[in-house]
C-alpha cells in the first residue's frame, strides 16, 4: 500500500467537504433556471414568449451573486417576476453559503499546515548547499542562526511554537533559512528537514526540554548514523545516555557559563583569547580585563549558581552566597551564607565592602539589574559580573555598564558555532586551560605578531 502524504489526506477531506456547498449551488441553480425558462413571458402579438435557457442562466447568475443588472433582455411578465422573487432569495442564500464554506475550507488549519509542510520539504530537497538542521528557535537558537548567517551557512529550522516561526519569517539573514512549525521529535519532520540529505552537515537540538532533546538526538542518530549531532542538555542522566551514542556532542549551557565565569575571574588572558576567537564586540587581543583578587559574592543559587560555586570552589576561589532558598547542607562548610533576597542589607551582611567582586546570577533579569544597582551604590570599586537571561533586555544591560555581562544563551550559541565551524579551537582553549597562563600569553604574542590588529575570522574546515 503506497503511503499517502499529509497533503493527500487533508486534500481529500477538504474536497469531500466541498461537496455540500457545491450541491446546494447546483440544485438551486438548476431549479431556478428551469423555472425561469418555463414561465411564460410577455405576450407579443398574442403569443406567449419564453425565455431561452441560456438567458435564464445569465439572469440567474447575476441575480444569485447580487449583481442585479435588471430585467434583461426584455421586461418580465408577472409570472416571471414571481419566479424571479423565488430565485432571488434561494440564489443569494445558496451563493453566500457556498462561498463561505469554500473559503473556510481553504483556510482549514490542517490544510494550511499540510501545505506548509509540503512546501518546506520541497525547498529543503532542492537545496544543494551544505546546511545545518536547527531544532528549537528560542534565544540560543536564534543567536546561533544569526551566527550561522554571518558565516554564510544555511540552516533549516524546526520549532513547535508558531510564534517563533513567524518571528523567523521577519528576520533578514544573508542566506535562506526555511522554517517549519512542527514537533522536531517526530521522525517524519526530521526527514522533511533533510536529516538524510547528503548536504546536511550537522543537527543541533536546542529546545528547552531535555527529554525532547534526547529524543531528537536518538531519532537523528538512527535515521542518519553519520551525521554529527549536537545536543543541549542540563541533566546528568540525559548526558550519560547521550555519551553512549557516538558522534553526539553534549553542550551543557550551565557548565559552559560556569567555565567562562571561572576563566573571567581567574584566567583573564584565556577569557580574552576565547572572546577574541568568537568575535565578541569590544575585545582586543592581548588586553585582558584586569580582575581583582579576593573573595567573590554570588547572588543566586539555582542550578546555575550551584555549578558556578562548584567550579570556583574547585579552583580555590572563595565564595560567599546570597540566596533566599539555598539549602545549607548542599553548600558545605567554610562558606559565608546569607539567606535573603539580594538587596542592600543582604549585600552588607555578606561583606560587599571587602569583596573583590559580585556575580549576580539569578534567573530573572530584573533581579540581576536590581542587585547591580545596589552593589554600585555600596561599593563602586567592586568588579561586577552580571548574568543576562533574555536577549530582549539587551538595551538595559548595555546601559547598566557592568564590568562583564554573560548571557548564557549567547555563550551556548557561540560554543556550538565554534564546534560547527572549527572544532579544534575549542580543543586548543581546553588544552591551554590545563596549562600555565604563561603558555597562553606566548600564544597571544605570536598571534599579535602574525595578525596585528586584524580581527579573527573563523573559516569552515572540511
Amino acid at each position: 500500500m503506497t503511503s499517502t502524504s499529509d497533503l493527500d489526506r487533508v486534500g481529500m477531506i477538504v474536497l469531500r467537504y466541498m461537496r455540500r456547498p457545491l450541491f446546494a449551488l447546483l440544485f438551486v441553480y438548476s431549479v431556478g433556471i428551469t423555472g425561469m425558462a418555463l414561465m411564460p413571458g410577455l405576450a407579443i402579438d398574442g403569443e406567449a414568449t419564453y425565455m431561452s435557457l441560456f438567458h435564464a442562466f445569465y439572469f440567474f447568475t447575476y441575480t444569485a451573486t447580487t449583481t442585479g443588472f435588471g430585467e434583461l433582455p426584455s421586461g418580465f411578465s408577472d409570472e416571471q417576476r414571481l419566479w424571479a422573487i423565488f430565485c432571488l432569495y434561494t440564489g443569494a442564500i445558496a451563493w453566500f453559503y457556498a462561498i463561505g464554506s469554500l473559503i473556510g475550507l481553504v483556510q482549514n488549519p490542517h490544510f494550511i499546515q499540510a501545505m506548509d509542510g509540503v512546501g518546506f520539504a520541497r525547498r529543503v530537497k532542492r537545496n544543494d548547499e551544505p546546511f545545518i538542521i536547527l531544532c528549537g528557535f528560542g534565544d540560543a537558537g536564534s543567536l546561533l542562526a544569526r551566527g550561522l548567517s554571518d558565516h554564510h551557512m544555511r540552516a533549516v529550522i524546526l520549532d513547535s511554537n508558531p510564534e517563533r516561526i513567524k518571528a523567523l519569517g521577519v528576520r533578514d539573514y544573508t542566506v535562506a533559512m526555511p522554517g517549519l512549525c512542527a514537533d522536531a521529535g517526530a521522525p517524519k519532520h526530521l526527514l522533511a528537514a533533510g536529516v538524510e540529505h547528503p548536504a546536511c552537515r550537522a543537527l543541533v537540538t536546542l529546545t528547552n526540554d531535555d527529554d525532547t532533546n534526547l529524543k531528537i538526538a536518538v531519532m537523528a542518530r538512527h535515521l542518519n548514523p553519520r551525521l554529527q549531532v549536537i545536543c543541549r542538555s542540563t541533566s546528568a542522566r540525559h548526558e550519560t545516555h547521550l555519551q553512549a551514542l557516538n558522534n553526539v556532542t553534549v553542550v551543557d549551557p550551565f557548565e559552559i557559563f560556569a567555565q567562562l565565569l571561572y576563566w573571567a575571574i581567574a584566567r583573564p588572558e584565556l577569557h580574552n583569547l576565547n572572546a577574541w576567537f568568537v568575535g565578541a564586540r569590544g575585545v582586543e587581543l592581548g588586553a585582558p580585563v584586569q580582575v581583582p583578587r579576593g573573595d567573590w559574592i554570588l547572588c543566586g543559587y539555582g542550578r546555575m549558581g550551584h555549578r558556578i560555586h562548584c567550579c570556583l570552589q574547585a579552583h580555590g576561589v572563595g565564595v560567599r552566597i546570597i540566596d533566599p532558598d539555598v539549602d545549607t547542607n548542599l553548600v558545605g562548610e567554610c562558606t559565608v551564607l546569607v539567606q535573603a533576597q539580594a538587596d542592600h542589607s543582604a549585600l552588607d551582611a555578606a561583606g560587599v565592602d571587602d569583596a573583590a567582586g559580585v556575580i549576580t546570577a539569578m534567573n530573572r533579569d530584573s533581579d540581576n539589574l536590581n542587585a547591580l544597582l545596589s552593589v554600585t551604590a555600596l561599593n563602586p570599586g567592586a568588579f561586577r559580573i552580571v548574568r543576562q537571561n533574555s536577549h530582549e533586555n539587551q538595551v538595559a544591560f548595555d546601559a547598566a555598564r557592568a564590568d562583564l555581562v554573560l548571557q548564557h544563551s549567547l555563550t551556548t550559541a557561540r560554543r556550538i558555532l565554534k564546534l560547527l565551524i572549527s572544532p579544534l579551537i575549542q580543543e586548543l582553549i581546553d588544552w591551554l586551560a590545563e596549562r600555565e597562563p604563561a603558555q597562553t600569553e606566548t600564544l597571544v604574542t605570536q598571534l599579535q605578531a602574525a595578525l596585528g590588529a586584524k580581527p579573527a575570522h573563523l573559516c569552515w574546515s572540511g
Binding site: 499517502t4 481529500m12 477531506i13 477538504v14 474536497l15 469531500r16 467537504y17 466541498m18 461537496r19 457545491l22 450541491f23 447546483l26 438548476s30 433556471i33 428551469t34 431561452s52 435557457l53 441560456f54
Partner: protein, 127 residues
C-alpha cells in the same frame, strides 16, 4: 445494499441515458436534438462529478476523470449552441448542429466508459 451506491449508480446511468437521448437521431436535423435534454444531461453530469469528489480509491479517481471529460465536452457543446449564429431563437443551422452533436457523441463515449467501470467494479467485487 448501499444507499450511497444506489444514488451514484442512478446518476451515472441517468447521465448516460440523457446523453444518448440527446445525440440519438440524424446528426443534422435540428428537430432531433432538444436543448432541454442537453441541459439536464449537463446538470446530472455535474452531480455525478460532485459525488466523486474526495473519493480516495482508484476507481473513484477514474470515475471522476471520466465525469470531468464528459462535462467538459457537454458544456463545450452547449456553448457552441449558444453562439450558433443563425436566427435568434430558431436554433442552430444544420452545419452547426453537426458540430454540436459530434461533440456530444464524444461525451457519450466518456459516459459509457464511466458506466462500464462502475458495472465492472460492482460485478468484480462479489459481495
Amino acid at each position: 445494499m448501499n444507499f450511497e451506491r444506489v444514488v451514484f449508480g442512478f446518476f451515472v446511468i441517468l447521465t448516460l441515458s440523457l446523453n444518448y437521448a440527446f445525440v440519438a437521431g440524424s446528426v443534422e436535423a435540428t428537430a432531433h436534438h432538444n436543448v432541454w435534454i442537453l441541459t439536464f444531461a449537463i446538470i446530472v453530469n455535474l452531480v455525478a462529478i460532485g459525488l466523486k469528489l474526495g473519493d480516495r480509491s482508484q476507481i473513484g479517481a477514474l470515475l471522476l476523470a471520466s465525469g470531468l471529460v464528459a462535462s467538459l465536452l457537454l458544456i463545450t457543446a452547449r456553448v457552441v449552441w449558444i453562439v450558433a449564429g443563425s436566427g435568434d431563437g430558431s436554433g442552430p443551422a444544420p452545419e452547426e448542429m453537426t458540430d454540436i452533436v459530434s461533440i456530444a457523441r464524444g461525451a457519450l463515449i466518456a459516459n459509457i466508459v464511466a458506466t462500464v467501470i462502475l458495472v465492472g467494479d460492482t460485478l468484480l467485487s462479489r459481495r
